[in-house]
């Protein structure tokens, strides 16, 4: 049965944060890869670095801005991604049923999930830690390499490269699944809403525990 009932999954501030994230992180990955492999001419490498720096500044402003404006969302996010149970191990054993669904077109039983499934939690943890390290080390590498002790800069450089690779690889998975889960894609990119029934299937525990009906008024 198809229901028209919708849940507001991504409020406007989250969507704006995410737009800016797309705007900054995709160029950062692209330019970062170029900076790593150094294939271009001197002037082009310089332009690449300049784009990298500007995008990095945008990302920093985005992250700090969201921490201030969407403080409740950040706290909820952190709470949720670190809420790990035995179900997460079971989830990873079948990889959330995605390979079976995508490759074999077959549905299998998956442990019930909260708002984020186990894969998303892992992704969230990596984003949180990796993103913080990338932003911090990026600023040091850009603005303070002459001041900060050499070995520290070298270590930060290594961490920057390491987490950049981790997030780049995660990004590929995220892009694929993000578009594959088209309802979620529309929710994040367009209007923030997902069908109640689908949420019930994907995140049963979330719908059960955290979703309340909007009683008094409705907002478009």
């Amino acid at each position: 049965m198809h229901s028209e009932k919708m849940i507001l999954k991504h409020p406007l501030n989250v969507r704006i944060f995410h737009y800016l994230l797309i705007l900054s992180f995709l160029p950062l990955v692209a330019t970062g890869l170029i900076l790593y492999f150094k294939p271009l001419s001197e002037a082009s490498m310089n332009l690449t670095m300049q784009i990298h720096v500007v995008a990095g500044v945008v990302l920093t402003i985005d992250a700090i801005g969201f921490l201030l404006i969407g403080f409740d969302r950040v706290v909820l996010f952190i709470k949720r991604i670190f809420n790990i149970s035995i179900n997460d191990f079971k989830w990873f054993l079948v990889l959330g049923g995605y390979p079976q669904k995508i490759l074999l077109k077959k549905k299998i039983a998956v442990p019930p999930m909260e708002k984020y499934n186990s894969g998303q939690k892992l992704f969230g943890i990596c984003i949180l830690i990796g993103g913080t390290v990338l932003i911090f080390s990026g600023w040091i590498l850009w603005a303070f390499p002459h001041l900060v002790p050499r070995e520290t800069v070298a270590l930060l450089g290594l961490l920057h490269t390491f987490f950049a690779w981790v997030l780049t690889l995660f990004l590929l998975v995220h892009l694929f699944l993000g578009i594959y889960m088209f309802d979620d894609f529309k929710a994040m990119i367009l209007h923030g809403k997902i069908p109640y029934d689908e949420a019930r299937e994907m995140s049963p525990l979330w719908v059960e525990k955290d979703i309340i009906p909007l009683s008094d008024k409705t907002v478009a």
Binding site: L8, P149, K193, Y196
Partner: protein, 106 residues
Amino acid sequence: MENKKYQYIENPLHITRREFITISGIIVAFLALPAVWIKALTSANNNYIQARTKGLYQDDEKAAVRVSHANKSVTRYYKEFGGEPLGHLSEELLHTKYINRTKGLS
């Protein structure tokens, strides 16, 4: 799609006072630690230069003779071989000339 209403929302975050203090504390620490860390790093930045400087001044302080003109070996060098400072042999052996290298640059 755009105009479709929604009927459900997430239960908003309820934070107790204790939780708020904890979370704020963690965030402040998270922001302050790197700042403190950078400050500590950069203020200790030149310690090795100062340590080496001190090492040489110690060498000076413990030296029996602390002025060049009282170095007996230097005196002996001039007496046995070199003549006198700025003397003929000194000019020949211990002084030099410099060249203008800007011509190649222009």
